[in-house]
Structure formats: structure tokens, C-alpha cells
């Protein structure tokens, strides 16, 4: 179990992590989701005692990481696929790490096999692809057979087979009762892997809930409406909390009001509606919704096809 209380990290004038508190429970996969620069890696480095928090504290299984008697057997972490001297072979890297805890060579060979590095274990890490580097990082994290596993962006650079492998691995580890904490900026990956989600944006926790709750709770229900008088319906629906997007002629997407409300408004005003379809918000959309004010770097894409027309005060 990982417990963070008021964890804060300030670099100069920039607050990377601003007083976050959360608990990562054992026996399930907890996803740590946020856009780039949200503070995920900083938080994970603080858990591992590599960065000292400006204020606040974080404990792993009740103790600060540095106070564990056998840290590698307690917590395994993949913080960065490049946390390796690249002139050393994968086997020697793992061997040196294992030596600190008297972990036998047989275990080193075991994690090499487990992560599919058998063919390249005796090669220098310099020549590794990003995906092989990730596998080596995961092998290092598993070395001490730890109760708690922290993986920072484990699927980055992995091929599709590797992505599925990581997904199954973390689920299996959690099913054994271990604490699994994995970060990603990819919502779609989290939707498939995590049981519980902690969403972070600009150093603050935005959501901390089971994944199902995040999809249904935060994601606003949207309704697709087809009508032959879109402009008139937009004006009629305009109001607090209601937003309408005109996607194409005669097609609207309405949120902030349920289909029954839309139908009533249309009926009362004699506007013909020929489609009313409730749209399930995808996790991706829920995520965008959650973090849209929190992303550090916005990209602006201009497409002629769908210019959102916002009606009503937001």
C-alpha cells in the first residue's frame, strides 16, 4: 500500500506536484493518469525516495521507502527505461542490482526469461530498442519479487505484443495481492488495464475513483440529435450548463440536458426531431473533460469539418 499525504514538490517557482494525497491499495491495478508534465514521474520519484518532497510525506507499506530494510524486496520500480549504464550488458546490470540484496543468479535468469530478454541478455544495453529497454526496466522492478510494483509509463515504446504482455502481467501481479501502481498518459491503455484510477493534472489530483465511476460520473452524458431546424433548436436549448455542438447539417450533439428534456423542448416548440441517441462517454472523452483545463501544453488543430458552435453560457 502506498500512502501520500500532502505531497508537494516545488522546483524554483514551478510547482510540479501541489500537495497531493492519495492511497494506492493492494490487490488491484491503480492507474496514474495525466497529461505530460502533470507531475506523475515526480510523484513516483518521491515515492522511491529519489526526490525529496518540498513538503508532505509518502509511505510504502507504512514506512518511508528509505527506511525499509530490504528496499528491492519491498518495492520494485521502473521509473525510467534508461536508468541503466548503457555500456553494460542487461545480465550484468541485473546481476549488480541483485548483488545488493543477495538475490541469487537464478532469480536474475528467471526475470530475464520472464521479460523475454533471453536472446539479448548478454548484449550491451546501448543497442536496445526502447521496447527492450522497457522490458529490462520491468525485469529490474521484478528482481526482488516485491510486494509493491511501481511502473512509470511501462508501455511506452512497446510493440503491440508487449503492450498486451504488460497488461496481463500487471493484472496477474495484482491478483496475487500485490500493490500495482502504473502511470500513463494514454487513457485507452488505462481503460483496459486499471481497476482504479488516480487522475492528475498540473500537479493536482483531479479524480481518484474506480474506473467505472470515472467513465459514468464525470463524463457528461451526450445526446445526438437530428432535426431539420438545428439553428432554432440550438437557440431553444441554450441555457446554463447546456452545450450544443453542430457537427454537420441537421446534426447536433447536446450535453448538459437529458434526451427527455431535449424531446420536451422540441415538442413544446414544435421542432421536428428525427433522431435522439444517448452517447456513452468514452474514458478518453472523460479524461479530456477532466484534464482540459489542466494540460500544460495545448495543441491547436484547426479542422474545417467540425467547428464546434457553443451555445449557451459556459
Amino acid at each position: 500500500m502506498i500512502e501520500a499525504k500532502g505531497l508537494t514538490k516545488v522546483y524554483g517557482e514551478k510547482t510540479a506536484v501541489g500537495g497531493v494525497s492519495f492511497t494506492v491499495q493492494a490487490g488491484r491495478v491503480t492507474g496514474f493518469l495525466g497529461p505530460n508534465g502533470a507531475g506523475k514521474s515526480t510523484t513516483m520519484r518521491m515515492i522511491m525516495g529519489l526526490d525529496a518532497p518540498t513538503s508532505g510525506s509518502v509511505t510504502v507499506n507504512g514506512q518511508p521507502f528509505a527506511q525499509h530494510r530490504a528496499p528491492l524486496r519491498e518495492i520494485g520500480a521502473l521509473l525510467d527505461a534508461k536508468a541503466v549504464h548503457t555500456s553494460r550488458t542487461a545480465y550484468n546490470h541485473l546481476l549488480a542490482m541483485a548483488a545488493t540484496h543477495s538475490i541469487p543468479k537464478s532469480r536474475v535468469r528467471e526475470v530475464i526469461e520472464m521479460t523475454g530478454l533471453g536472446d539479448v541478455a548478454k548484449k550491451k544495453v546501448k543497442g536496445f530498442s526502447l521496447g527492450m529497454g522497457q522490458r529490462l526496466g520491468i525485469a529490474a522492478a521484478l528482481l526482488g519479487d516485491p510486494q509493491t510494483i511501481i511502473l512509470d509509463e511501462p508501455v511506452n515504446g512497446l510493440d503491440p505484443e508487449g503492450v498486451v504482455w504488460v497488461r496481463n502481467l500487471v493484472k496477474y501481479l495484482a491478483s496475487e495481492g500485490r500493490t500495482v501502481f502504473l502511470s500513463s498518459h494514454l487513457m485507452s491503455e488505462m481503460a483496459l488495464t486499471a481497476d482504479h484510477l488516480i487522475v492528475i493534472g498540473r500537479g493536482r489530483i483531479i479524480a481518484d475513483a474506480p474506473i467505472a465511476e470515472i467513465i459514468t460520473g464525470k463524463g457528461q452524458a451526450r445526446t445526438r440529435v437530428r432535426t431539420d431546424q438545428p439553428e432554432r433548436l440550438m437557440q431553444l436549448l441554450a441555457g446554463t450548463g447546456v452545450s450544443v455542438e453542430a457537427h454537420e447539417r441537421e446534426l447536433l450533439e447536446v450535453s448538459g440536458i437529458d434526451p427527455r428534456g431535449i424531446a420536451r423542448t422540441a415538442l413544446e416548440n414544435q421542432v421536428m426531431v428525427y433522431e435522439l441517441t444517448p452517447l456513452q462517454a468514452s474514458l478518453e472523452e472523460a479524461y479530456m473533460e477532466l484534464t482540459k483545463d489542466e494540460v500544460e501544453y495545448h495543441s491547436h488543430i484547426t479542422t474545417g469539418a467540425s467547428v464546434p458552435a457553443q451555445a449557451g453560457g459556459k
Binding site: M1, Q25, A26, G27, R45, M48, G49, L50, D51, A52, N61, F65, A66, H68, R69, A70, P71, L72, R73, E74, A77, L79, D80, K82, A83, V84, H85, T86, S87, R88, T89, N92, H93, L95, A96, M97, A99, T100, H101, S102, A140, G144, Q147, G177
Partner: protein, 283 residues
């Protein structure tokens, strides 16, 4: 959580050994010997030491032969000849200190430039333990390598000197003293290098500061007019080796014991600073 998890944890804590010092020392030694660049640098040092001793023996020999016709010079050489020959095995020491000092820098700075430091200090969060383990590996290997290559250099120089009828006794007290003092000195330089590598965290910067301290500063201090720099120059780490190895005390230099203390301070202060910074800074 569930009872199974609790059981798991308690049994785990009772079986697994943690990062005790001897285990970390073993890990640092594995890291040391599994880098090809380290092995190459060590081999280069040995080669340079032996090569310079051979050249020194040849040069000294032919010099002695040339002056043999001049009775006055010959007498001077005869009086000093033993001293000339005895320092031949360590004639490459300036280069050994440069290479092994740089190795000290590299072994620590590369931890940070490659990101290995994150693995190292995640495995052993009490950062002073891997630092000291690495320091021991660096100093012991610098000492052993210098001592061994000095001895081999002596063995190579012997037959060359013999050609010129010059004598060198590798077992003499002065030979043994030179071998030991020079080896300790190189180990000290390697320790200073490692401290610099920890402070600067950058390979080029660390090696440049080492070169600045040992090669640039002594020359600069001599060029700057004024008694202060002449006096201060004696306290530079690179200038401690000649009083330490001198047969008799040379005027205007430090006494051997003073030089020893100065060199010791040059090791202890940067190493202490490096340890404080290593503990305080983020990895």
C-alpha cells in the same frame, strides 16, 4: 487488506536480506568490472607505466654512457646514479594519476549521465553506502594497479639498466617506499576524482576540474607573481608527491608529514562535500 497479503509480507520481511555494506561493495565491484571502458583504462595505465619506465631506463642509461668520458660529470652521476635509477619504475606516475583520476570521475559521473543512479539509489536508498562502497572499489583498484604496474615496470627496466651497468634494487627500502607512496598518492587522486564526479555530475566537467587542479593550477601558480601564490603552490595536491617521495627534505618544500596531511585534507574535504551533496540533492 486480506489476510494472505499480511502473511506474505511478514514472511517476506523475515527472509530477505537487505543491502548490507558487503553486498553493496560486491555490487559496486560487479559494476566496476563489467564496463569495458574501465578495463581499457586500467590496461592503458599499466601500459603507460611500463612504457615510461622502459624509456626512462634507456634515457638514463645513454645519458650515463655519454657523460662517462667527462670525469667530473661521471663522478656526479656515480654519486646520484642510484637515485636516478630508483625513480625509474614510477616515471609514468603523472599519467597514471591522470588516467585513474579520470576513471574516478567517470565511475560516478556516468551514474548520473546514464541514469544508472536511479537504479543504484532505488536499490540502496541510504546513498552514502553505495558512495563509500564505490570509493573503496576505486581507491583499492587504483592502489593495486599502480603498485602492480610499478613493480612490472621495474622488472622491465632492470635488464635495460643492466646494459648500461646501472644498478636498481627493487627490494631496497627506497624502491619499496616509492612504490607504496606513489600507489597511495594515485589512490588519493582517484578518490578526489570520484568526489569531483559526484559534485559536478558531469564527465567532461569533472575531468576538466581534475586536470585544472593537478595540471593547470601548479603552472598558473608559478606564473602569477607574488609570494602568496608561490607559498600556496606548495599546498596544491599535485605538489605533495615530491616532498612525499624525496630522500631528504628539500628546502622551500613541505616536510613529508606536512605533505601527507595536505594530501589527506585534499581527499577528505571533497569526499565529505560530495557525500553531503549526494544526500541532499535529488537524483
Amino acid at each position: 487488506m486480506s489476510t494472505t497479503t499480511v502473511d506474505r509480507k511478514s514472511t517476506r520481511n523475515s527472509v530477505g536480506p537487505g543491502p548490507a555494506f558487503h553486498r553493496v561493495l560486491n555490487s559496486e565491484f560487479i559494476k566496476f568490472r563489467t564496463l569495458m571502458s574501465t578495463v581499457i583504462l586500467l590496461a592503458c595505465t599499466a601500459l603507460v607505466m611500463v612504457g615510461f619506465a622502459a624509456l626512462g631506463a634507456w634515457g638514463t642509461g645513454s645519458f650515463a654512457e655519454q657523460v662517462a668520458s667527462d670525469p667530473e660529470a661521471a663522478a656526479a652521476v656515480a654519486a646520484q646514479g642510484g637515485d636516478l635509477a630508483v625513480s625509474i619504475p614510477t616515471s609514468g606516475i603523472v599519467f597514471a594519476q591522470l588516467i585513474l583520476g579520470s576513471l574516478g570521475v567517470l565511475l560516478m559521473s556516468s551514474e548520473f549521465t546514464t541514469g544508472m543512479a536511479r537504479s543504484t539509489f532505488a536499490a540502496v536508498p541510504k546513498r552514502v553506502i553505495p558512495f563509500l562502497a564505490k570509493l573503496i572499489v576505486v581507491m583499492v583498484s587504483a592502489f593495486v594497479l599502480t603498485a602492480l604496474s610499478t613493480y612490472i615496470a621495474g622488472l622491465v627496466a632492470l635488464p635495460i639498466l643492466g646494459n648500461y651497468d646501472l644498478k636498481l634494487d627493487l627490494g631496497s627500502s627506497q624502491s619499496v617506499k616509492l612504490l607504496l607512496v606513489n600507489s597511495i598518492y594515485v589512490a588519493a587522486v582517484a578518490a578526489i576524482g570520484m568526489a569531483l564526479g559526484t559534485i559536478v555530475r558531469n564527465s567532461a566537467g569533472g575531468i576538466m576540474s581534475l586536470v585544472g587542479l593537478f595540471f593547470v593550477a601548479p603552472i598558473a601558480f608559478q606564473l602569477i607573481p607574488g609570494d602568496f601564490f608561490k607559498e600556496a603552490s606548495k599546498y596544491l595536491p599535485g605538489n605533495t608527491i615530491s616532498p612525499l617521495t624525496a630522500v631528504e627534505h628539500v628546502p622551500e618544500t613541505l616536510e613529508a608529514w606536512q605533505a601527507g596531511l595536505v594530501l589527506g585534507a585534499w581527499v577528505v574535504v571533497p569526499v565529505a562535500l560530495a557525500m553531503i551533496l549526494l544526500k541532499k540533492r535529488d537524483v
